[in-house]
């Protein structure tokens, strides 16, 4: 999986930022997946698009959740010979590409002199103004650490476990004990508690290296949160350590798109 690479490169910003007009073409479903994932935490983001593909990272207004996303150039029908950066309002972009679907080609033409992009698909042409990149929140640079717990499981199973926690609480606790070899997803309400086990049989790869438990806000995960685009059939890799951000990685676009989601924990509440 190349998600770790996406994470490492998210802040790199590409090699050569183009000041010339340039055009890329991508399938509608790929672009739609990108927008859908970003919209789970932000309404505007800075894209870097071109011969290196697409990369974008966005942190929510409270600096608690982050999405980093990379699409390899092979996922594009065509790429230019430079990279262009542009800040875009995601709700408007979502509206503008809504008429295209599946493999419909969507052409994005960068107009640096107007700091805008032209979007063309089906029988639609849109000129969309960019947002000043300085007006968009910078994402923090989170160093990689050796996680105490990392496991890969079916995304549908994981989402179900997290949604179960929501039945009793507005936070979810991930708890893993080395000797048990399983991860327990817990929702602790004022009166009720619900536990869903992700057993070793459900874990296709990974290791519990150290006992670890951490608490996370469900606001960021479900009900339109970061897990919204995920369903059964997608492999999800989860990494966390005691009282550290949880990282969740998955691929899309036939393995050419890579997503890393990150969520900071709530601490001091046991």
């Amino acid at each position: 999986m190349a998600a770790a690479d996406a994470e490492a490169d998210a802040d790199a910003g590409g090699a050569t930022e183009s000041v010339d007009r340039m055009t890329v073409t991508v399938r509608a479903e790929v672009l739609q997946d990108v927008v859908d994932q970003l919209l789970t935490i932000v309404d505007e983001a800075i894209f870097r698009i071109g011969y290196e593909g697409l990369s974008v990272a966005a942190v929510d207004p409270a600096n608690v959740g982050m999405v980093m996303l990379e699409v390899e150039p092979a996922a594009f029908e065509s790429v230019g010979d430079g990279m262009f950066p542009i800040g875009l309002n995601l709700e408007r972009l979502d509206d503008y590409i809504g008429g295209a679907s599946g493999a419909d080609p969507v052409t994005l033409s960068y107009r640096p002199e107007r700091r805008s992009i032209e979007i063309e698909h089906t029988n639609v042409e849109v000129e969309m103004a960019g947002i000043d990149p300085d007006a968009i929140r910078d994402e923090p640079d989170i160093p990689a650490i050796d996680p105490s717990v990392e496991f890969e499981t079916d995304a549908g199973l994981f989402v179900d476990a997290v949604e179960n926690a929501d039945l009793a609480s507005d936070h979810v606790r991930f708890k893993a004990v080395v000797d048990d070899g399983e991860v327990v997803v817990i929702g602790e309400g004022d009166t009720d508690e619900i536990k869903t086990e992700i057993s070793s049989e459900d874990i296709s790869d990974g290791a519990i290296k150290r006992d670890a438990e951490s608490l996370f806000s469900l606001n960021y995960l479900i009900s339109g949160g970061m897990l919204k685009p995920l369903g059964s059939g997608t492999d999800l890799r989860v990494e966390y350590s005691e009282d550290h951000p949880v990282k969740m990685h998955y691929d899309f676009a036939d393995g050419l798109g890579h997503v890393t989601m990150m969520l900071a924990p709530r601490v001091g509440t046991n």
Binding site: A62, V64, E91, P140, P143, D243, A264, P265
Partner: protein, 618 residues
Amino acid sequence: MEFAAFAARAEELEAEPADLETVALVADLFTEAGPDLPTVTRFLLGRVFPAHDTRTLDVGPALCYEAIARAAGPNVTAADVETKLADLGEIGAVAADYDFGGQRGLAAFAGGGDGADGGDEAGSGGGGLTVAEVDAELRDLAAASGAGSESTKRDALFGLFNRSEPAEAKLIARLVLGEMRLGVGEGAVRDAIAEAFLSGDAEFDEKPDGESDEPVVHATDEEVATVERALQVTNDYGRVAVLAREEGAAGLDEEGLEVGRPVQAMLAQAGTVADALEEWDEAAVETKFDGARVQVHYDPAVADGTESDDALGPKLYSRNMDDVTDALPEIVEYVAERVDVPVILDGEVVAVDGEGDPLPFQEVLRRFRRKHDVDRMREEVELRLHAFDCLHADGDDLVDAPLRERHDRLAALLPDAAADVTVTDDPDEIAAVEAAALEAGHEGIMLKDPDAAYTPGDRGRNWLKRKPDVETLDLVVTGAEWGEGRRASLLGTFELSVRVEGSGGGDGGDGGDGGDGGDREADAYETIGKVATGITDAELEELSDLLEPHVLAESGTAVDIRPAVVFEVGYEEIQRSPTYSSGYALRFPRFVEVRSDKDPADADSLVRVERLAGDADD
């Protein structure tokens, strides 16, 4: 400046009951504010933006409660916050009572930091907020628009609470809801600016015996007046504070009006013809129009027949300095077609029928803040501009000029729209003007001192409004009761209060200065009665929708409501009464309409009620 340091000063101010000491404390804060001086000045008054700026945070109580609940911890709900609010009485105390900061921010883990330990990294729970950061976050929050803006605002506010200690959280909650409760009004800020930056010695004086640390404020009346004048023409406390510090009195004296920067409207008191003729040699008598106040700003910036880049407007601002330009296109066209020099005009927009006769005030309201269907409503409701004052004309600031001169300039600029003025010392002539105004369907007359300057924001005795009979009061809704039976889901029996000027602030009472517009001395509100009649079921539904977002607390069927909505209420008589806290009650009160053009700070005052009841000292 660390936000925690500002919050500590705010706590001192809140605990300080004495006016002079408050001014000294604020002056001290200003001298230490450094580059944050404009922000600190505005924050003290419950503002993020200058008063002339039309941007608002647009954060209601419900959104604030949700953000607090999220920061407060697992399984705390907005309903829990409201319950605590009912116990503690105000949102700042509620925010301070929770233990925020359990939710880490990602930035706490950046660069190898161990966010689990808290610490000072930006984004961690607790610590690290600066005044500039809070200002920037709130400005970003105000800029959020579109379908997801409410969620963005909630997230941003949650992020701020998450990073705040109790004293900081208290201030943030109060700031976003415009209820600072520090006991620091505009007058104290004005005096403190003079004290900090114009007075020769801002240190405390000790009495000769050395036993008292009673503060002495050194700023002279002249220095305070210099600040006051600059505030009136700039309408920006932050800017004036910086100017005073950087350039002193000379810099403040150079400040003038700026076309496109609205100033507060000059206001009138109620008064009689006898009052006017006793106080002035002559009275300028004008028609009192039953319309909506507008301030017109226009700079055609035409040179050699070509419009330059400096052109602006015409822009139209309401009495509360909201931009209402788009809603009133015919007024914009009227001014643009007739005026060819930069101007700032004051006037009233009135709805008229096909014959040009005035229509009731509510017809204007159908147009005034409309954002949609403007063209259709333009066909339905015809508007006319009656300009009655000229603050600026062709490069000349006229606020210090006498009314006679200002009106002459106005009449030369807009002869058709300039209100007629009769200057006389003859009561019979005044009565004739009044009779003609009423005959024409207008509200009555205004009496003005023809030699007085234009004093923005001042409700002085230089303008008097005389109505033929005092029949209605504009009162603030401070409570209500849930109905019964088929009205069980509707609010009714509305508790009404009069405004007590500048007596609120940190008293923990039901005072409040309303939204982001807290640029007045903190007012308090005292009850004067309840109104339940004159309201249809349809109106009850509308009033319930209007008032529910302002509900502070509920007990049984009784509901406490944050002062935000003004009702015009008719009555037959004002009586002294021990039942209500104002000491007065209305006989046969009846609901007339919602005064959506007025803030609580514009509601009728207890002083006015005393005068109407014949109990005023004067």
